[in-house]
Symmetry: C2
Subunit: 515 residues, 2 copies
């Protein structure tokens, strides 16, 4: 606080940033030391692997990209039309080239991420076309202003490590230049790792170029290591489309982060049985990994799981279900079997940030923890199966994420003599309490997690303060965070270079929208 008053100075500025409205946990890369929950036996793992391999060998995947087809042909695949079949020896040889851990370095090197191992990192919601807040009171098409607010929240919260896609899709910007404006906002409002959509050559190349400019890097420096990432979804069942594969191969060649996430809803785009859905998801993911490794051995790949189930009454997707949780854990076991980092998500089917939203999101986030997930997409702000982004939900999710981050800190379960505290116990004995004890006084400011959104007052205290339910508390806090937001520093020449790039690309017409 003293530092805040020393206004103007660099240090005061830095100290204030991100600490003014709430006290939040520090930026760090959480390490998940717990053994993962593993429902599958060794035989179960073998059966899923066998299933995935037989899908690749006997059924094949449709590859709707001539360049990728040509590469697979060269690699010795069996190709009939667009159908590609791969032998398991080739697949496993390629998968073995993929690193089990890799880094991504954004323009602020202090925000470097490690993907893989025991690290678990969280990203904001990506790609909802709509926005909901207590202010709009209804579902509305996303705007650039709303998108910028969600980028600010993503930057503000230390528990958010990477900034994926459009936090909400700004439908007030023409689709041909949307990626330019949003990436400009991201790179100027935010210094964390960003994402680019694999939706056509222009978007991918523009994304890489803008990250390069913002980082003040030569192209050679840019390609030295992953700086950003893309995510591709197969068109389940058993199909990869042209633009996604195009982006995938471009990013592989440029040494950037690659995540492939089949969207295999059991009962719709995949078998109604979870093992079948997971096996299919693995086959669809592994063929993309094989492609990347063939193009660039050692390419930074991760596989994602988006296996959930549909509501068999309506066909609507369901999220955060028991089946979703187990599919995530099963995929985690398989990711470790293949030695690949895992991506999963924080998801719900709920339409508003209420009780259901929280139990569904909590289920999916705990599944991420239990599965050994390394990247958790959509971990803050997601509603309505990904069709709505909500700032209130964003804050509620961040409260859960902070609690998970604290949950992973080993001091919580430390058992040294100072923690067993026999002297303190003997001192208090059967009388009195521990409040005033030196052992307590020495530790009380840091002993326990302090929430920023939970209200721990008793009913009467809470009622006197207005009796405000969680979503409304989140709303007020979100408004204050946005008001108080300060963008991280960016050298003026880099900002100007970004502006010039965006202006030039807009003049050129941006990206085609008819792919």
């Amino acid at each position: 606080m003293a530092e805040r008053r020393r206004s103007g100075g660099r240090k005061g500025h830095a100290a204030r940033r991100g600490s003014a409205v709430i006290e939040q946990m520090p930026w760090r890369l959480p390490i998940n030391r717990d053994k993962p929950v593993e429902p599958l036996s060794e035989e179960g793992v073998a059966a899923l692997h066998e299933g995935a391999m037989r899908i690749l060998e006997e059924i094949g995947i449709e590859i709707l990209n001539p360049e990728a087809l040509e590469i697979f042909r060269e690699a010795g695949a069996i190709i009939e039309g667009d159908n590609v079949r791969l032998g398991r020896d080739f697949v496993m040889e390629m998968v073995a080239k993929a690193p089990s851990q890799w880094t991504m370095t954004p323009r602020n090197p202090e925000r470097e991420l490690v993907i893989g191992g025991e690290y678990i990192l969280f990203g904001n919601v990506s790609s909802p076309p709509n926005f909901w807040s207590l202010e709009t009171g209804r579902k509305v098409p996303g705007t650039r202003a709303q998108c910028a607010e969600l980028i600010k929240l993503s930057q503000y919260f230390n528990c958010i490590h990477f900034v994926g896609g459009y936090p909400v899709e700004p439908q007030d910007i023409h689709a041909s230049v949307r990626h330019l404006d949003v990436l400009f906002d991201k790179l100027t409002l935010c210094d964390k790792v960003v994402h680019t959509y694999s939706l056509g050559r222009e978007r991918v190349e523009d994304g890489m170029e803008m990250v390069r400019i913002a980082g003040g890097l030569s192209r050679e420096e840019f390609e030295e290591k992953p700086r950003l990432y893309t995510n591709i979804n197969s068109t389940s069942p058993l199909k990869h489309d042209h633009p996604m594969l195009d982006g995938w191969m471009r990013m592989a060649r440029a040494n950037q982060g690659l995540v492939v996430t089949p969207f295999t809803l059991a009962g719709a785009m995949a078998p109604v049985t979870m093992a079948g859905a997971v096996a299919q998801s693995l086959a669809e993911a592994l063929i993309a990994v094989a492609l990347a490794q063939y193009i660039r051995p050692g390419a930074a790949c991760a596989i994602g799981t988006f296996t959930s189930n549909v509501d068999m009454k309506s066909g609507a997707p369901a999220f955060g279900t028991p089946e979703y949780m187990r599919a995530t854990q099963m995929t985690g076991q398989m990711a470790r079997f293949y030695g690949l980092p895992l991506r999963s998500s924080g998801v719900c089917a709920a339409n508003v940030p209420d009780g259901q939203a929280m139990w569904e999101t909590s289920n999916s986030l705990w599944a991420a923890v239990q599965s050994g997930t390394n990247m958790v997409y959509h971990a803050a702000g997601w509603l309505e199966g990904g069709l709505i982004a909500s700032p209130e939900k964003f804050l509620m999710d961040c409260e859960m994420l902070q609690q998970m981050q604290r949950y992973m800190e080993p001091e919580v379960w430390a058992t040294g003599p100072d923690e067993i505290a026999l002297d303190a116990i003997a001192e208090v004995g059967g009388q009195g309490h521990f409040f005033g004890l030196q052992h307590t006084q020495d530790r009380y400011t840091t002993a326990f997690y302090q929430p920023f959104l939970s209200d721990w007052r008793n009913f009467e205290g809470w009622e006197q303060a207005g009796g405000i339910w969680t979503a409304e508390r989140a709303h007020h806090l979100y408004k204050r965070i946005i008001e108080d937001f300060e963008a991280p520093e960016l050298a003026p020449d880099r900002r100007e270079a970004l502006e010039a790039f965006v202006a030039r690309r807009k003049e050129e017409g941006g990206a085609p929208t008819d792919y």
Copy 2:
């Protein structure tokens, strides 16, 4: 539904019961096959054990019950005033006599419970003095009518296995006879395992007697096996009070279920460090187990954990925190080390059934699952740190419990050829979808969990149906369940005998209220 229309017949009656308002999961004893989450290393377990043993050997526990003191003296304890110190050899010898698994058999033998092993069973909220619902709109003192409603919900939901304490304390009944009326309501509205408070001789003896009468048992038959249970809390730090120990010993002699749960809030009644709080909790629990085993070798004991932390700003208890979760997991490791079943809880600090209530409760319920907990108290209906019972929260919690029950069913992660479903995947190939497939049609009615409270419609469908948030949906459903409730059968002579017993005990003045 056909059976419902066949009104009047026994079968129609049975089929209707519990299935009319919602489709819920069947009654079963869930088995938690996952390996528990174990934060402690082997050294950590040894350190906590050493801590607990040194507390018992060197610091001692205040035993405010002359009869218990006398028993400990006979057993060779070192006694100074009320302070009892036990050697670890004696403690471990006694603990070794305790069964790691035992049963409880209520008047309906189909509701028999197994406590221990991989079983995880859930009970309703117990003992809140206050009630909150969307109807009362505020916190109000509990009444018998509200208590009866919560008993009906506890009976109605198959995911609730046992019915603990007063679901809300009926303050419109005089304290001296409260236990008689509530146990009468429980035993007539409900056929599941019940609980009796260890608050003085009369309440315990009345409780056992009423369960005996409801079961149509002789005293000898009653004592053949556990029929009900009690729970005692130590008065932390390091103290057991007279009435609780009195009930504990009575129940032990009568071969009934015994659960001891120290309430060790770190920083208040226990060290600020979680390991210290857990070590103290273990010492307080193990001395009670040793007492029970000395009185009756093989007595049915379980240890509970209620270790959480206080909010260091206000001193208020916090629940469902990261520290709470780890303390629960640590205690689970120790319960397995001692070969004792474990009790934990579903808890929150939130005052209303909103987002916070759900993330806190979800954290505590997942901690119960991860810790290998066998009995989960307060798993439905708890608010405000246990000071409020809420029917809306009850239903919201049951939705989570059902999902956990489904999560534990091994068919979710089965990996046989029918589940890998290569034929189905080959049949669909890269075209179409799985909806119409025979493999899907054969399974779609049972493949996925169906919620009774979640709304999985898209935003527009949800909005058209009124845009109702979860708590309000729960309210409507709770009202319909209560309206439709039918009590389980109870032979008229047993009911009359219960009525006569209650009348006689009321004439005698019930139980003293000045303990």
